[in-house]
Symmetry: C2
Subunit: 298 residues, 2 copies
Amino acid sequence: MDLELVAQVRRFNRIVTQRVGALDDHYLARDRPLGEARVLWEIGPDGCDVRSLRSRLDLDSGYLSRLLRSLEGAGLITVEPSESDKRVRTARLTSAGLAERAVLDQLSDALALSFLTPLDEGQRNRLVAAMSEVERLLTAAMVQISRQDPAHPHARHCMREYFAELDRRFEGGFDPSVSISADDDELRPPAGLLLTATLRSEPIGCGALKFHDDKPTELKRMWVAPSARGLGIGRRILAELEAEALRNGSRVVRLETNKSLTEAITLYRSSGYVEVDAFNEEPHAHHWFEKPLDVAPR
Amino acid sequence: MDLELVAQVRRFNRIVTQRVGALDDHYLARDRPLGEARVLWEIGPDGCDVRSLRSRLDLDSGYLSRLLRSLEGAGLITVEPSESDKRVRTARLTSAGLAERAVLDQLSDALALSFLTPLDEGQRNRLVAAMSEVERLLTAAMVQISRQDPAHPHARHCMREYFAELDRRFEGGFDPSVSISADDDELRPPAGLLLTATLRSEPIGCGALKFHDDKPTELKRMWVAPSARGLGIGRRILAELEAEALRNGSRVVRLETNKSLTEAITLYRSSGYVEVDAFNEEPHAHHWFEKPLDVAPR
DNA sequence: CCAAACCTCTGACTATAATCAGAGAAAATG
DNA sequence: CATTTTCTCTGATTATAGTCAGAGGTTTGG
């Protein structure tokens, strides 16, 4: 990789940890232990289960418990057993806690303003545009794509969302029972495989392959969560699936799709897929695509 | 200010403290106290005075002293009295320390690469361009402009650099003795005033006014360090000087300049200054400019 | 040459962050 | 229904971060 790119990223990291990181902690702390302030903030106005606090802030359970006791002692939060699962406890802000959080909110605004006020209007707009770009691309870079068992909750979640979206978008809805199957076992090695994309441990996309020995490999279940679109994740999933297919000895990948899925069709076309005659009787499909894998992979 | 701008800056702050800040610390630490790692890094390959370590890392003298003892005990640095001033001590990396710092260097590269590798080439280039923009504009926002006594080391430094630059750029060089005076007392209230711009406590620019009762105020000594150009600092100094002049009751500001100072001339023109006939006999000047202050200040 | 300012260090101390083992209650599993 | 797993908590303990006062040597400025 170009050394100059790495050097620029490092300059950025440096100034940003100095300027944003250090100040952010300082503003958030305001004569309270930083850990407590973070917890107070993370609980949020609607309350939050202790276990999700633990995973989001990545804290030791004993440590978090003590922080919660301290905040409780200060009258800023209450902690009560959850209704659905009595092992889980839920932390909620008291009115004093809400007031305290509002102060933190204002301090965060003040920090943001301290970046903007010294600049003139043109500079401000350029800064904000560049920040937005950095935010988007850093987010994209945080997305991890990995193999997943079809029965895993992440996989189930993606399938559910995928079917729901198809049902919303297809004329006349989507009926899985008349569609070509892709059961769990068909998406598990050796019959096939499933990839999921996750962002901060949340599932945000998937894609699967069904192998057919020497016949073309089928591509199924390509989906990216609406909140994560425009980050190039679909393209990454597609590329990884093709790489997996190649590794499995496939020479050709093919797929069918519905005319309403325009972004997907654009993606396939721009990734080297060419439209071919219908190769199956999928009732929801309008287009069939195929890509030979041995030509220069991109 | 536009709330949407503030919100975007906050989103940026959030992701960047999470992603860059936390990981940066983690990479830097590698089973050593973070404070020690920072000191080790900051000492650099050429060594560093203890006092400048203290100011750059903003550490308590006792605390830093202990960190240095610890690094010394680990055989990573040596600390010896400085030659010029025996109160000051200078820390230097041993060969083991240099090796350790090289490891930190590689880890920083690895962190930067972890942002880049998941992206495709177009995304990479956009990320790096946006990072560069953010870096520049955050730097610009860190610049502080304030009144300064002409005898202060910062002011002296700027003047020295300013004269040196004029001498380099003017045809036939610059001779202060034949130039119109601007001695310390002329740039101190009530006769005038001096502003300096600083970035991380380092002087990087200046500008001054000489008041003449009801006659136009003179603008002198506008200079920005080459390393800090293109950040809009000259324009900010100019605007602050005009505000000061207005506060002092001035209605008009005027200045003379040399034809070789093209960026300055562009700045004056775009800030509402109009060229007028020579109003003094400054031998180095080719252009004379004037701006009425009571018309809408920008 | 003397007083003031400066630089670094040590000692003594406090607060915060973090880890680990295990207890007790509740839910999931088979 | 017995077993395992999950979730939160307490107790015990350690590491790290940070502060403050003052000692002892060095330089600066009048």
